[in-house]
Symmetry: C2
Subunit: 214 residues, 2 copies
Amino acid sequence: MRQLLRVQNFTVSSDGFGTGEHQSRERPFGHAEPEELFAWAGATASWPNRADAAGSRGLDDYFTRDYGRNIGAEIMGRNKFGPQRGPWPDHAWQGWWGDEPPFHTPVFVMTHHKRPSFTLYDTTFHFVGGDPASVLAQAREAARGKDVRLGGGPTVVREFLDAGLVDSLHVAVHPVKLGAGVRLWESPDELLDRFHLDVVPSPSGVTHHVFWRR
Amino acid sequence: MRQLLRVQNFTVSSDGFGTGEHQSRERPFGHAEPEELFAWAGATASWPNRADAAGSRGLDDYFTRDYGRNIGAEIMGRNKFGPQRGPWPDHAWQGWWGDEPPFHTPVFVMTHHKRPSFTLYDTTFHFVGGDPASVLAQAREAARGKDVRLGGGPTVVREFLDAGLVDSLHVAVHPVKLGAGVRLWESPDELLDRFHLDVVPSPSGVTHHVFWRR
């Protein structure tokens, strides 16, 4: 069975931004409010960060419960991992996620600046340079036959889309404008030459966009 | 984690029938055409009976790929298992599914007529009497902590709904009338006193109904 590269539960504003501007240690999404952007996912029973047994089991839950299904590795950009730019000042920063990151697989952080791998609970972070195809080859090997999730941010998703490496892409469009930040797209129509698209409005207010390769 | 009882990918006609009338060895759904009723599922990449690597990966595929996720046992009615009525004439009939049934877990067939268990590939069929609650207790034990799927037909789904045992229910409504057969409901509204409901039209033509307990 072929190993797919999948984007899952990637949420953008109605004007196409995946994150705001002015990222900092206190604000991983810059001026955007992640609690608002991801409210649709946080309300579901299968949200990976949920601690209780509550939550909805409707349409949106199909998307959150698919997040980890058959995933063996994740690729993320450096700005999803942390707010630093340039060479690492030290190795104290270990991501935004505390002692138990929600990935449970090897994670490949794309950066030009070397840093040793480290493990938190059941997630090992590797820091890798190189082009998207070579990073994907490393992630596929680590995934041991399972699929690879492309975790974002928007810049990294664009790079892999431009390189023709993405097999399926789920984007939830939140019905609020951000006005500025880092853009995934001007319009989902940009991808229609290469992907099929199902557009699915959810009762929660987001509109799910499900793309798969033509 | 609680073990859920889940109905998955159950398909009914627009007038509420889950199967037609006049079931026979040649026609498991009676006068209904399963190829039409389940066309929405058969077109997806994750349809359990698919032999090739093709198929759609849009909205409908989220439903077919959820079919086996975290399922540890199935409960089905006798008429899902076969066309016989009354005492078993012999034990030659082993279901409609050939040498590799798509269940991959223990299956509990509800019947008043005793028959020894048997195994086909990685599916073991058990034949059990008793009320829905006692059958569910047996299936939960066999599922070893995973959820139990309630496989149908419509009569069995109704029995478990009436006993208040169903936690979540996914019904795809096919946009064609059957006119006769075995009914799941007159209208999905019958369940709204006990369940939340998301109604999700699919580009394939079916309308997914996702119910979860209030």
